[in-house]
Each structure stands twice: as C-alpha cells, then as structure tokens.
Amino acid sequence: MSGAGVIPPDLAAQVSAFTARLRDRHGFLIGPGETADALRALGAVDVLDRREVRGALRAVLSASPEQTRLFDLEFNAFFRAEGAAQPKLPLLPETKAPGTEQQTEAGPPPPPRPGQPPAPNPTPAPAPDDAPDPDEDAPDSQAPGQPLPGEDQAPPDDTAVPSLRARLSPNAAPGQAVQAGGDDLPELLRAASALVRALELGRARRLRPQPQRGPKLDARRTLRAAARTAGDATLLRWLGRPRRAPRFLLVIDGSRSMGADATLLLRFAQALHLRSRRVEVYAFSTGLTRLTPLLRRAPSGVPLSLPELGDAWGGGTRIGENLLRLAREERAGVTRDTLILVLSDGLDTGDPALVGRALRDLQRRAGGVVWLSPLAAAPNYRPVQRAIVAALPFLWALLPVGGAADLHALPRRLRAARRL
C-alpha cells in the first residue's frame, strides 16, 4: 500500500530540523520555500519507503553534485536506522574523475600506472590540527533524527564515504586557511578590466543592432522604420556580430616554490572574477582544486581568505598530471573564446611529457594558452625548465609576472605576442 500523500507530523518536524541542519552546517541555500517544497514533495511519494523519501528530499534540497554527496551523508546520519553504523562526515568533498567511482565499489584501488605516482593514501592520518572533531561532525545526540520506517540497505551511491574524504598530501602545508590579503585590489581590478577589454578572440554568434552597415538586414527594425515612410523601406537597419566576451581559465600553481607570487596571482584571479562572470579558477600543487565557488562566495572589501586547500596549495608541484586532470574536467568548458592562463614557475617534479600532452589538448580547444612565470621576470631568464620546454610548442606566449606592473602590461604583451 502506498503511503503517498500522508505526512506524519513528527516527520514534518524532522524535515524542518534536517533542512536547518543542511543550511547551518553546509551552507545549502534553503529557505522557508524550499522547506515547504520538501514537505510537499513528501506528500507525492511513499513516506514509508526510505529510498523515495531520500530521493524526494535530495531532488528538492540539493543543487549540485557536491551538495548531493553531502546530502546523502547527512541524510544517512540524521535518519539513520536503528543499529546502523554512524557514517563519518568529510572535511572536504573530493572531486572525482568521471568513472572513478567504480574503483570504490570494486574494492581496493588498482596499482598505479607506469609513470604515475602512487595514489594518495585514502585514509591519511591528518595532522593534529586537521583532525575532525567527532563531536562537531557527528549528529547531535539530541537531534530529532529517528530511524525511518522501511529501512533498507543503502544503494552504492550512499556508501561513498571513502570517496568524500579530504585528500591530504604529505607535502602540503599544515591545514591552514590561505590568506591572500593585500591592499592592491583596486590596482588589480584595473589590470583585470584592461585585460577583459583588450582581448578579442572572436565575434559573437548573436546578431546585434549595428549603428552602421552590417552583414545582415535587421528586418524587424527596418519594418518599424518603414512605418514612418508609408511602408517604403528607405531606412535600412543592420545587424552585426559584436566582439565576443572572452572566457578565462586560470590555473594557479600554489606549490611552495611559488611563494608570495601565488598569493598575488590569487588576488588577480579574484579581481578578474569580479570583472567577468566568465572566469574559472583552479589551483594546483600536488593535487588540483577548483576555486571558482570559493572566490564567488568570498566577501568583497576584505582581504581574500580561503579555507585550507589540502594538496592544492603549499605542497610539491605536479604540473602535468594536474593539467591533464584539468583538461578532462573542463573539456566541455574550454572553447575557442577561452584564454587559458597557466600561472607557474615551471619547476615540476612530475613527468614533463604529461605537460606537453595536456597543453596540446587544451591548446587545440582553446583560443590560446599563455604561461605566466615569476621566474621569467628575472633578468637573463632562460626557459630551460623541463615543464616549460615541454610546454613551449603549445603556448601563445610565455610572459613574466613578477608583480602588479606585469599584470598591467599583460594586455599589451598579449596583443604583441598575437601579432608575431
């Protein structure tokens, strides 16, 4: 018998508490409207079926794959079955490559391929400062969560706890927030504006009214104008294709060797993000992390502060592997109007052949790839680093970035490089 349409009052109270938990602990954008929708959704499914309840609440309350994974963990913790083990909650969700979920379901991970480093230990012992507080992450003992009727074995997607563990590199800096404070934001904003304005990678597909003769007649406006001349189309209106707003894909090397240059570039990425919505930002060290959501949420007017970035900041340098991963994750996002800016000194501990392979892939799909190196700002610099040598055939330009002045000069240097 279906229980659809019947919501026990205590279940409604639990759902309200659950939505508050998602909002308060994980920052889900859940307001009263979403809570009401969640209750309405329960009215449309069988509340005696745990899977349907979970599916209904997940569809209403989550809005991204990352939130979906967090939702599943919180749901299982909140509405756990009697006697069920308490799932552990992650510190940071891990970004999985497509298809790698099979490794977790199939048991132990495969051995590393030749030329690749061993996979990071899936259960690293975190530093004392990083140790999750079990009282903080575990559900409150007084929480209203109760076992739901119809408890069943969770499907494989609910047992994703291992894949959600934070990956902590043994080379990473101790778990500290990344501080990129500085009073140069207005200056960097000017540099970012100049870069957005200066770059022209192509013409938009959308036709826009043109003040002068364009490639296509604007029939709508011409007909409107003809009304003034008794139906004779004497005043022709035209459509044209304006400059296409460029996209930017910034990849910042956050390894130890980059030092203060990395934080300068992080602030520049923030400035660029404030000037254009078409900006994606990643950071890498031994691992790769997408920073765009963090930059979007960063409050303006205060020094930039990001949470601990794990193996994407302050560790060693694995340029090739991370660029390969970037090429795979951003495959659909890189188009001919994308300028890829790789911000790195090129001091790599990985296989340089991977750098060439990744950049060849990216360069084929992007409008251009530009490498910005702090080392190139030094006099008598010669591009002899292995990663740089492997990358050079696929670069639009290799440019110095020793300070804010170089960022200001970026549009001019890019135009000059393009004319060559």
Binding site: S2, V45, G55, V60, G99, T292, R328, A332
Partner: protein, 300 residues
C-alpha cells in the same frame, strides 16, 4: 494539469524499463516531483549518461508531445519564443497596395497568421501539458538564463502586439546541463535537481539488454566490463552509455560473440572518439581481449 499525470516512482521505473530506459529510484522520484511540485527538473551529469533520453522517454510514457529547445551560445529570447514572419508581412503589405485594399492596420499585420511560434511559446500554448526539454542550458549565455527565470516563474509571455499569453497547462520542464558553465544559484533554486552518474555495471548491463535484446550475454558482459575499465582511465572523452550501446551494436553487426583483438580494432571508433584516447587505452584493451580470448577460444 495535476501531479497524477506522472505515475508513482515504482510505476514510472517500470514504464521506463518497458521503453528501454533503466532509471534508478532517485531519477524516478525526481521525475514524479516535476508534476507534483510544478517545478522544472535540472538534470546534470557527464555527457552520454541519458539525460536527454530521460525527457524523451518521459514524454513517451505520458503520451504527450516533446518540445525541445536546443540551447547554444547566442540563443536569444526571440529565437526561443516567437518571431514575426517579416517576409510574409511585406508580401501582405504589397498585395494590399496592389489590390487597392486600402490601409493595412497593425491588427492585420501583427496577427496570429504572421506569428511563428518557437519552442517556448509552443509549450505554453499546448492543450495538454507537454514535456519541454531545454537541452544543454549551460551552452546558452547568462542573459538567456535570466530570461528563463522569469518564464519559469510566471508561465506567461508578453507579445507586445498581441498582449499577454498565459500557459494553458504548465509544461513538465526538464533542463539538462553538462556543466560546461556554472549555472546561477537563482536558476538552481527554482529547479529540482538530479545528478546523473554513469550507471553501475549491473545497470549498464541491463541497459544493453533492454536496448539490444538480441545481444549475446557473454558479449554484453565483456563490453560492459571493458567500458567500465575504460572509464577508469584518464581519457579526454570517457565513453558514455550511448557509446556502450554503439560498441555492442557494432560488434553484433560483425557477428562477434565475444571480445577479441580484431573485433576491438575494427570497432574501436564506436567507443573512443579521440586518437589520444585510443592510444592511451590500447594496453588496457589488449589485456581485456587476452582475458576474453582465454575464456572463449576461437571457434568456441
């Protein structure tokens, strides 16, 4: 329109399965809520996992029309809503002049006969709630996404010359995205959400059998296992479910009853679409072919 139009999740799963679509519980529940809550469903996931196919199957299950709006960069509201047939309007004007019919009024010129309805207008004028598929919304730009917010909230559009047109029925709206661009929080908040992942081995095997009923069991299992092994590699374009089906169909067309090296060589283009991926996957595929050959000697 009522929520009863979409069956309960278990019945919906069964109806999808009859049509060759293996839906999981979460997707069936999310689709059920599209009607129950009257909200659009945002389906995200890698390319080739069956997002668009889910909308097509839903329209088939409901017996309603599928109206598809394929998004692309540069898509504007006019192309998605309606356009006036200017050429016919001009001809009408000239004909009226030559026929001495006197002045042509705005009401004549901007009437239904010159209105060309585009997908969104078609969707809200349908008598029976259609399935409106807004495909690859991430390819459209921000301005179009903002325009959609208004339409999805009000379900009415205003044609300046005709007035406001309200939806007769609220369409079942499904948006798909490959995450090539980050969608706004505003759009996400207005939608139900479902992340579609690659299917498990068992699910994918069920899909192969549902779509290709004549396929040999051994071959289906080997193809499914091989595709899962390929997805674990760092490929530029990992194979989706569509590639699995294409590969199995290609092997069947060559009368193969198991995977072997010649068969893989002949059909590799059905599953890996980049030369670099084919080179990268070569050792893995050789190993799989050797395993398959060990289990199925020639002539067996």
């Amino acid at each position: 329109m009522s929520g009863a139009q979409i069956p309960e999740p278990a019945a919906l799963k069964a109806a999808f399965l009859v049509r060759g679509y293996v839906a999981d519980d979460a997707l069936a529940t999310a689709l059920r809520l599209v009607a129950a809550l009257g909200k659009p469903l945002l389906l995200e996931g890698p390319a080739g996992v069956g997002k668009t196919e889910a909308a097509k199957t839903l329209s088939d299950v409901l017996g309603t029309r599928l109206i598809r709006l394929q998004c692309y960069e540069g898509l504007d509201a006019q192309s998605a809503l309606y356009e006036w047939n200017y050429a016919r309007q001009l001809l009408h004007l000239r004909a009226a002049e030559l026929g001495g019919a006197g002045g042509v009024t705005d009401e004549d010129l901007y009437s239904e006969r010159f209105l060309m309805a585009r997908p969104l207008l078609q969707a809200i004028r349908e008598e029976h709630a259609p399935v409106l598929l807004i495909d690859e919304i991430d390819r459209a730009d921000d301005a179009f996404e903002a325009f959609l917010l208004e339409l999805l909230a009000e379900w009415q559009i205003t044609v300046p010359e005709l007035g406001t047109i309200e939806a007769r029925t609220r369409p079942h709206v499904i948006l798909t995205s490959n995450r090539s661009r980050e969608l706004s929080d505003a759009l996400r908040r207005r939608c139900l959400y479902h992340w579609t992942e690659y299917p498990s081995r068992a699910q994918e095997l069920a899909i192969v059998h549902a779509r290709l009923p004549g396929v040999n069991e051994t071959l289906a299992q080997q193809v499914t296992n091989a595709v899962h092994a390929l997805r674990a590699l760092p490929l530029g374009k990992p194979p989706g479910v569509a590639e699995t089906l294409d590969w199995a169909a290609a092997l069947v067309s060559l009368h193969a009853d198991h995977l072997d090296a010649p068969g893989i060589r002949a059909t590799l283009g059905a599953v890996l679409k980049l030369r670099e991926d084919q080179l990268l996957a070569a050792p893995t595929l050789q190993g799989l072919a050797a395993q398959a050959a060990a289990g199925h000697p020639p002539g067996a």
